[in-house]
């Protein structure tokens, strides 16, 4: 299977005051097309850092972050924008929907940023996440579970090769959390996107094809 994302010897350090924090220390792994991988580990082990590097919103100090053939570590600003816009879809812990846009407009946003429009595709996804009837509502009028389902639709609308989800159920009760997870899994199978999911909850990881276990900025096991 082709690799849609590959990390090679990636390190990332942060300065906190005068102290150097090693968020990642030489991490390497591969994400293949269509597979679901869970990144697990205690809080502060470097999960979010890993996802941010793949999302093209952060750069490593060392190593390569190759997403769909582009090394984001060396990419220019324009290539980073393209990676975010075309290859990656993101689901955040705190939903992050545009407050002034309706559900439908929020889902269409990644397309619109690239100057595209596809009402059929947007409607189709809204139907599949069960929000067809709420497409004219604003985020503030939705429950947490509904907001996150909107975010899932948004993450998939532009057919990204990789969907990144950082603690996607962290702000939800367990019932809605389970529903969102099931939905993500189902949709990414239908769409053929790879899913990289960061969580500190071992039970969630059970559904994944593979589990990458991290501790203190290093991968300690791949199961």
């Amino acid at each position: 299977m082709t690799a849609v994302t590959e990390l090679r010897g990636v390190s990332r350090r942060y300065l906190r005051g005068d102290e150097v924090v090693h968020a990642l220390r030489g991490v390497s792994f591969t994400l293949s097309a269509g597979e679901m991988v869970a990144v697990v580990g205690p809080s502060g082990c470097g999960k979010s850092t890993t996802l941010n590097l793949i999302a093209g919103v952060d750069r490593p100090d060392e190593g390569e972050v190759i997403v769909c053939g582009t090394d984001l570590a060396r990419a220019g600003e324009a290539e980073l924008v393209t990676a975010r816009r075309r290859h990656v879809g993101i689901v955040f812990q705190s939903f992050h929907l545009m407050p002034h846009l309706t559900v439908e407009e929020n889902v269409a946003l990644p397309l619109a940023l690239g100057g595209r429009r596809d009402a059929v595709r947007v409607l189709d996804l809204l139907r599949r996440v069960g929000l067809e009837g709420r497409r004219g509502h604003f985020p503030a009028e939705l429950s947490g579970g509904e907001q996150q389902r909107t975010a899932v639709a948004r993450a998939l609308v532009h057919r990204p090769a990789v969907v990144l989800a950082d603690e996607p159920t962290g702000s939800l009760d367990s019932a809605s959390g389970t529903a969102v997870l099931r939905l993500m899994d189902e949709l990414r199978r239908q769409e053929g996107s790879a899913l990289l999911l960061a969580t500190h909850d071992e039970t969630i990881a059970a559904a994944a094809d593979r589990v990458v276990r991290m501790c203190d900025g290093e991968i300690v096991a791949v199961l």
Binding site: S48, N52, A55, V57, D58, E77, A78, V81, T82, A83, R84, R85, R86, I90, F92, Q93, S94, F95, H96, M98, P99, H100, L101, E105, A108, L109, P110, A112, L113, G114, R117, A140, G144, R154, S171
Partner: protein, 851 residues
């Protein structure tokens, strides 16, 4: 879609902020358009009046004191090459209209060939009308004026010429072919009648030459020169217009510069709004970056907003400006009319270029104001990066940098204030004022930073638990935006203080000057138009009547004429030195008693000159000046230099007997009467008016009435200035409102937390209100200091450079204190709306919104 996301949607859902910004820009543009349009209308009327009334004349023959009629005969050889047209052009008061009119005395038989007016067909056809015009006292009226006055041919028309009541007969009407407004206030009479009415028998104001086809201007000029004496000029009418508009140039420049000030305040408001809107939308922008929006897309959406604000504000401002110009016209008219003797314009036209310029300036200012917010917007990191951001104090280097930049601005301001005038305009001094505003804007941020650091110190810890403590912390956290708000308040306060200081210094100086220099008991002058413009002179008979009643030695008739210092027109005046030497008059710059100065001037046949004259031509006491007058040149030693705020083209005063030798007695401009002690001025005035009978249109003002009028004229002239001040203040309050709502949005979670932890609604509202008051107080304090500095530059540099007036620097301390307090209060009040919003906010809701 993107526009909708970042611009339209937020605007539609929260229109208030957008609307207030648009209004702010509109206010600034309106102020500029209004002053430019009004002062241009006044000046344009001078120029158009000259050009249009001159008709097809290519050349004009003129001399400083008019021409003897014989010159017409000398030009006889030219009749093959040109139409030769004698003209008398004078000003008279039309009491029915309450306004001045231009009276054109022409040779009616030749004149219709050269001027763009068409007399009623009936007039020329009817022998009676022609007879009335040529032999009787017939007058032609513009059709519109005749309709307005409801007069018909044959009706009498009363006019006041040299304050004397004259009755003419309406012979007919005429219709101008174009520029109707120029002709609206023109009466046409036969030249012989005009000569008689204005006491100019045997004299002409000018002779116009209209070349016949095939004759060039140059050839005609050369031919005319050969036939005429050397002291007579042959030039294009344009030259006369140019001289007039040159005189009002400084005035126009200062008015425009002053209105530019309100535009500047508008720009600060746009910058504030955009900066806060960037802050408010930080989350949204960051999310867009995460989802793949490029920097360019974000920049474009912000620029669109700026352009929209600018275009809308510009359009509204242009519309408002035209309305404002109508209101301002009265003020500008009397100011212009005080400078140039003439009939000012009656209507405001909005030239296309001014509308376009207003729009363009609106957009330009908004886009310029968008630069800093734009820089902040494109620096917004993706949303994943936002989490780690914490409010930080300014670093030492950036505070040091701010101090350095402020120092550079301050040095620049001092250097510019000391620079000389640029082409007689105070350009450098106004730039100095801008540099001072720069000091303010740069210094606000570090000052707030100091406040914030203070908040972290022991002083604030003592106040722990109070809203002030939280407010300071909130300001500290949002310091970047807070400094925008305080900056906007500071700029507005500075401008208000500067203008207030200038006006107060000016007003106090003028009042003192009037109190000291205006010593006569009664002033008599021709009835003024309703605009306050004095029209023409007093008939010499008024002087004779007064002399008969009160005796020659208490009467000081004041004559004026135009003379030239080199090529520059100045006012030459004649006063009764013997009378003033006994009773005292104007205040002299070197502090000598005016009686001594006038006595010396009388003894040595010397002149006294006004301060504007002295500074314009670099003259000192003891120098000898030479002027070109009607009959040659006049050289006089300067005995003293007096303060003169009534005149900016420069005045030279000589003894009346001396004056009358050079200019025939065509009546004084005004007459001052010094009564013996014990005589009741009011009774004396009644006696004089009774003696004058109903024959004259004169005004007789008692000492206190004249002084009150000086103040009234002053206040009317500065009415625009006060309006500008109000605009600046309103904009400042808008800015505070904008910033507070933004800060509130930013601190929503903290405030919700305060509530969740058990804070009362009152405490939360108190935090926001205290924040507003702190912001206002900081801005007001900074604005006060900088405003005084700018006021000093205006009083001591700008005024001297543009008008040659020395003023004392007299800040209106009590009203400045009130301004500071009021602005702080206004900010506090502006803070009430967001404070209420904060109080109404449900704690759980605010916390949930953020997820």
């Amino acid at each position: 879609m993107l526009l909708r996301t970042f611009f339209l949607r937020p605007v539609l859902r929260r229109p208030l902020r957008f609307v207030t910004t648009v209004i702010g820009v509109a206010a600034g543009i309106a102020a500029v358009v209004a002053t430019v349009a009004a002062s241009r209308a006044a000046v344009a009327s001078l120029r158009e009046g000259v050009n249009e009334v001159a008709g097809r004349a290519r050349l004009e023959v003129t001399a400083p004191a008019g021409l003897p009629e014989e010159l017409l005969g000398r030009l006889l050889p030219l009749t093959g090459d040109a139409v030769v047209v004698p003209v008398i052009e004078e000003i008279a008061l039309l009491p029915a209209l309450g306004d001045a009119v231009r009276v054109l005395g022409v040779d009616l038989l030749v004149d219709t060939q050269v001027r763009d007016v068409e007399p009623d067909a009936a007039v020329l056809a009817s022998g009676r009308a022609a007879n009335m015009l040529l032999v009787g006292s017939g007058v032609l009226l513009p059709q519109r004026l005749a309709e307005r006055l409801a007069v018909r041919p044959g009706d009498p028309l009363e006019i006041s010429i040299r304050a004397r009541r004259r009755t003419l007969t309406v012979a007919g009407t005429f219709a101008p072919r174009r520029f109707a407004s120029v002709w609206d206030r023109v009466l046409i009479v036969d030249i012989a009648l005009a000569q008689e009415l204005f006491g100019k028998v045997g004299r002409l104001d000018r002779i116009e030459l209209v070349p016949r086809p095939g004759i060039t201007e140059a050839r005609l000029t050369a031919a005319a020169r050969l036939l005429l004496p050397v002291d007579v000029t042959v030039e294009q009418p344009r030259a006369r217009a140019a001289a007039a508009s040159r005189m009002v140039r400084a005035l126009q420049f200062n008015l425009t510069a002053l209105s530019g000030v309100s535009l500047f305040v508008g720009a600060v408001l746009v910058a504030t709004t955009l900066a806060t809107s960037v802050v408010q939308r930080r989350g949204v922008l960051a999310l867009a970056r995460s989802l793949g929006a490029s920097r360019r897309q974000i920049a474009r959406s912000l620029l669109t907003e700026a352009v929209a604000i600018g275009a809308l504000g510009g359009a509204l401002g242009v519309a408002g400006g035209v309305l404002g110009a109508r209101a301002a016209l009265t003020s500008v008219r009397s100011t212009v009319a005080a400078v140039v003797r003439g009939v000012p314009a009656t209507d405001i036209r909005l030239p296309l270029w001014l509308a376009a310029l207003g729009l363009l300036v609106g957009v330009g200012v908004s886009v310029l104001a968008a630069i800093l917010p734009l820089a902040e917007a494109v620096r917004t990191p993706p949303v994943q990066g936002l989490v780690g951001e914490r409010p930080a104090f300014l670093h030492r280097p950036s505070r040091r940098r701010a101090a350095a930049v402020a120092a550079v601005f301050a040095v620049l301001a001092v250097a510019l204030a000391r620079a000389p005038a640029w082409d007689e305009l105070p350009v450098a001094a106004l730039l100095a004022s801008m540099a001072l505003l720069g000091v303010l804007l740069v210094a606000v941020s570090p000052i707030l930073d100091l406040l914030a650091r203070g908040a972290a110190g022991p002083l604030a810890r003592a106040a722990e638990g109070t809203p002030i403590r939280l407010a300071i912390a909130a300001l500290a956290a949002g310091r970047r935006r807070a400094s925008w708000g305080a900056g906007a308040v500071g700029v507005a306060v500075a401008l208000a203080v500067a203008i207030g200081t200038m006006v107060h210094s000016f007003r106090t100086t003028v009042i003192d000057w009037a109190n000291q220099g205006m010593r006569a008991d009664i002033w008599i002058r021709p009835l003024a138009a309703t605009t306050g413009v004095q029209v023409g002179r007093l008939d010499p008979e008024v002087v004779r009547v007064a002399e008969r009643l009160f005796g020659k030695d208490v009467i000081d008739p004041f004559h004026t004429a135009t003379a030239y210092a080199g090529t520059q027109p100045v006012t030459l005046a004649g006063g009764e030195f013997a009378v003033v030497a006994r009773r005292g008059g104007v205040t002299f710059r070197d502090g000598r008693d005016s009686r001594a100065v006038f006595a010396a001037a009388l003894a040595h046949r010397a002149a006294v000159v006004g301060e504007p004259f002295a500074s314009r031509f670099g003259v000192c006491e003891g120098d000898t000046i030479t002027l070109h007058v009607a009959d040659g040149t006049l050289s006089r030693k300067v005995e003293g230099i007096f303060y003169d705020y009534s005149n900016q083209q420069g005045m030279v005063v000589i003894d009346r007997n001396d004056f009358l030798r050079h200019y025939p007695d065509d009546g004084p401009r005004e007459l001052a009467l010094f009564l013996p002690s014990g005589v009741d001025p009011a009774a004396a005035r009644d006696r004089l008016l009774a003696a004058l009978g109903g024959r004259f249109f004169v005004e007789a003002l008692l000492n206190r009435e004249l002084r009150a009028e000086v103040v009234a004229i002053f206040d009317r002239t500065f009415a625009i200035t006060r309006a500008l001040q109000a605009v600046a203040a309103a904009v400042a309050v808008l800015a505070v409102l904008t910033v507070l709502f933004a800060l509130l949005g930013e601190r929503r979670r903290d405030l919700a937390l305060v509530r969740a932890l058990g804070g009362t609604r009152l405490q939360v509202a108190g935090v926001v209100a205290a924040q507003a008051a702190l912001l206002g107080a900081t801005g007001a304090a900074g604005g006060l200091v900088v405003g005084l500095a700018i006021g000093f530059v205006l009083v001591k540099v700008v005024n001297v450079q543009s008008f040659g007036w020395t003023l004392r620097f007299l800040p209106p301390w009590p009203s400045l204190a009130v301004t500071g307090a009021l602005v702080t209060l206004a900010c506090l009040l502006a803070g009430l709306a967001p404070a209420l919003a904060a109080a109404r906010m449900h704690p759980a809701e605010a916390l949930r919104e953020e997820g």
